[in-house]
């Protein structure tokens, strides 16, 4: 009587499953590279193509490009991995998380890997606007890769309908209000069918809000990342302008506006203008059922926009071979040809002036001048909000903005509170 036979078989089966479970997650890779999937499918495919190309040219290096989710998720993943003892060797992470990464002691400055004059020249070949979030303490920690600025998209057909010149977007805050009012379309019951403008405020309202503050000539945080000016009167003014767009002038939908639904809303004619990242350019070009224009954000005291997007960071916890390979890869992928491929596929701004000089880019931009807008706006661009304990400070700032936008608190009140909380957190870093 076999009381035991089957039991051993079961145990063996279980053990096998267990082993498969552990073994298959230890596939050998040379370089692991996290990146955010930020612009739909095209970006991911392009990254894969580029990595394949690099590996073909460099057969001794194997790169595993890993989808890591949104920017927020990517930095969480990278830090989780680092704390878990298995960090990636390099990663594209939101440029503003630089201070956090330094504080957590997980990244190294690129200066340490620079050996030749060529390397040094390369390090200095990027647009200064993008380098503001990439350097601190005299060293460069991040290399710009998928960078952007927000731009204004407008529906030319809607403009024509409203009796406005379809080739001229609003250039100032006042113009945006005036034009917005003409663009609002209501149905017979008085319900709004089309709004004038749409500035999304879900998730990370601070980014587009920074456009407004820069246009109002005020900076939100210092370059050392340990002091904020959330309650500056000009900031309050900017927030009041944003709130008034829906509450006073009624050219924008009330409440928090969903970022993800914004392009769709634009295509559906629910809004005549929208503020969103230049990274959406290819998406809009492919899907807008009407003629559209792309322009710089309107000015108040001056033109202005924040920069945005991700930088390459190289992690500490890698051996010298890996670091050298990572460095080489980053240099390669930011070369004009590869950078052009990336830019054209996504709409992100090529971070080096010489990329724009290549024939590929020249051809592309003559065919599609909208791609130049973000680059031209760089002249007026400032660093994105970035401080120590960036996630905490940014979140409480976002909460304050949300409170004001939904009318729960007045702009002055919300911002004063935010400043107080930010001070409490940043005190330790002064």
């Amino acid at each position: 009587m076999t009381c035991f036979g089957k039991r051993y078989a079961m145990a063996a089966a279980a053990a096998t499953v267990f082993t498969i479970g552990t073994a298959s997650s230890a596939l050998a890779v040379e370089l692991e590279f996290y990146f955010p999937v930020a612009v739909g499918g095209a970006a991911a495919d392009t990254i894969e193509e580029l990595t394949e190309q690099y590996m073909a040219e460099n057969p001794d290096v194997e790169i595993d490009a890993v989808y890591a989710g949104s920017y927020q998720e990517t930095v969480t993943k990278a830090l989780t991995a680092a704390r878990g003892g298995k960090p990636p060797q390099l990663s594209v992470i939101l440029s503003v998380d630089m201070f956090t990464l330094i504080d957590e002691d997980v990244i190294m400055p690129f200066d340490d890997l620079v050996e030749t004059d060529e390397d040094q020249a390369w390090l200095e070949s990027f647009y200064p606007a993008f380098m503001e979030n990439s350097q601190t303490g005299g060293k460069t920690y991040g290399i710009p890769f998928q960078r952007s600025t927000p731009v204004l998209y407008w529906n030319k057909d809607a403009f024509a309908e409203a009796g406005l010149d379809p080739e001229t977007p609003p250039a100032t805050w006042e113009e945006m209000i005036e034009m917005g009012k003409k663009l609002v379309v209501k149905d017979d019951q008085g319900n709004v069918q089309r709004w004038g403008v749409r500035i999304p405020s879900s998730g990370f309202p601070y980014w587009l809000f920074q456009g407004l503050t820069t246009q109002n000539d005020v900076i939100l945080a210092n370059s050392d990342g340990n002091e904020t000016s959330f309650d500056d009167p000009k900031v309050i003014e900017s927030l009041q302008y944003l709130v008034d767009l829906s509450q006073k002038h009624e050219i924008m939908a009330p409440g928090i506006i969903e970022w993800g639904a914004t392009p769709k809303a634009f295509f559906e004619g629910q809004t005549a203008m929208m503020w969103t990242s230049t990274g959406n350019l290819t998406n809009v070009r492919d899907n807008a059922p009407f003629d559209f224009g792309v322009g710089m954000l309107p000015a108040n005291v001056r033109r202005g926009a924040p920069t945005g997007g991700g930088n390459f960071f190289i992690f500490n916890d890698a051996d010298d071979e890996q670091k050298a390979a990572a460095f080489d890869f980053v240099q390669w992928i930011t070369e004009p040809e590869q950078s052009a491929t990336w830019t054209i596929a996504t709409g992100y701004v090529a971070p080096r002036p010489d990329t724009w000089e290549t024939t590929t880019m020249q051809a592309y931009t003559s065919d599609f001048p909208a791609a130049l807008v973000a680059r031209d706006q760089l002249e007026h661009a400032v660093a994105e909000l970035s401080t120590h304990e960036n996630q905490r400070v940014t979140t409480l700032f976002n909460d304050a903005l949300a409170a004001a936008i939904t009318g729960t608190k007045s702009p002055a009140e919300a911002l004063a509170e935010a400043q107080q909380k930010a001070d409490a957190i940043l005190e330790d870093y002064r």
């Binding site: 927020q72 969480t76 830090l79 989780t80 504080d103 957590e104 002691d105 019951q189 008085g190 319900n191 709004v192 405020s201 879900s202 998730g203 939908a253 009330p254 409440g255 928090i256 506006i257 969903e258 993800g260 639904a261 769709k264 809303a265 559906e268 629910q270 304990e389 996630q391 905490r392 979140t395 976002n398 909460d399 304050a400 949300a402 409170a403 936008i405 939904t406 729960t408």
Partner: protein
Amino acid sequence: MHRREWVYGWLFLTPALVFLFAFTHYPAFNTILGSFFSTPKGRKPAEFIGLENYRDLVADEVFWKVLTNNFWFALGTIPISVALALLMALWVNGRLRGTTLSRVAFFAPTVLPLIAVANIWMFFYTPGFGLIDQFRSGLFGLPAINLLGNPDTVLGAVIVVAIWKEAGFFMIFYLAALQSIPPVLREAADIEGASSFYYLRRVLFPLLMPTTLFVSINAVINSFRLVDHIFVMTDGGPDNASSLLLFYIYEVAFKYWQTGYAATLTVVMLVLLSILAIGQFFLFDRKVHYQ
């Protein structure tokens, strides 16, 4: 013989106990312990700071907001999903037409990952061209409403999704219980001339008490656990109006990396959970009528 039993008993129990201790009791204990320490930063290790984390907790207005939200969330989801579950079970168990399809419809949300359906619900809630607004403007000519972007309505919207997700699961328990009630009871009630409502109240309810107890405790646990959809739909916003305790713990622990404070928050959740579940158990225990 006894000694052998001891040995065997402990032997059989050990594998399970090892894992239980490692992943339930030890972490629970450690969480309580960890709440008295600060968060390690870079090279600086955690140091004992006594009740300071708790003082920070009391002063943290986001915590109170989150706690209040969780309270309303529990109040919204528990009674409604349990009641709906019973209603669904009663319907599906009866002789109406279309019970099979209805049963599938009610139970389907259970097998769908919450994180997946959150996307669908987000479309429903999108102002303007979302399904709800299309209904409202198409049928009633009402203006667009921003349910997720308004702090007054966002929690309600989140509650609806949770109820939709769990009611069907509880329905199965009630269904099983209903099907095991001897029909003779119903016949007896008929003979005595009792109305349907009387039958429901006086016979079914008491008999279903064990199931109701089981289902309610599950609902309580779920009211702390079901936070997946918040990641996709609102990210806790606007201004923490839809943030729940577990979601806040995730943010504090894995977004801000404040592990000391996260432990403190977890302790609060453990305490609440224990009080609610044990309290429920005692409350029902008197009313439960076991067969």
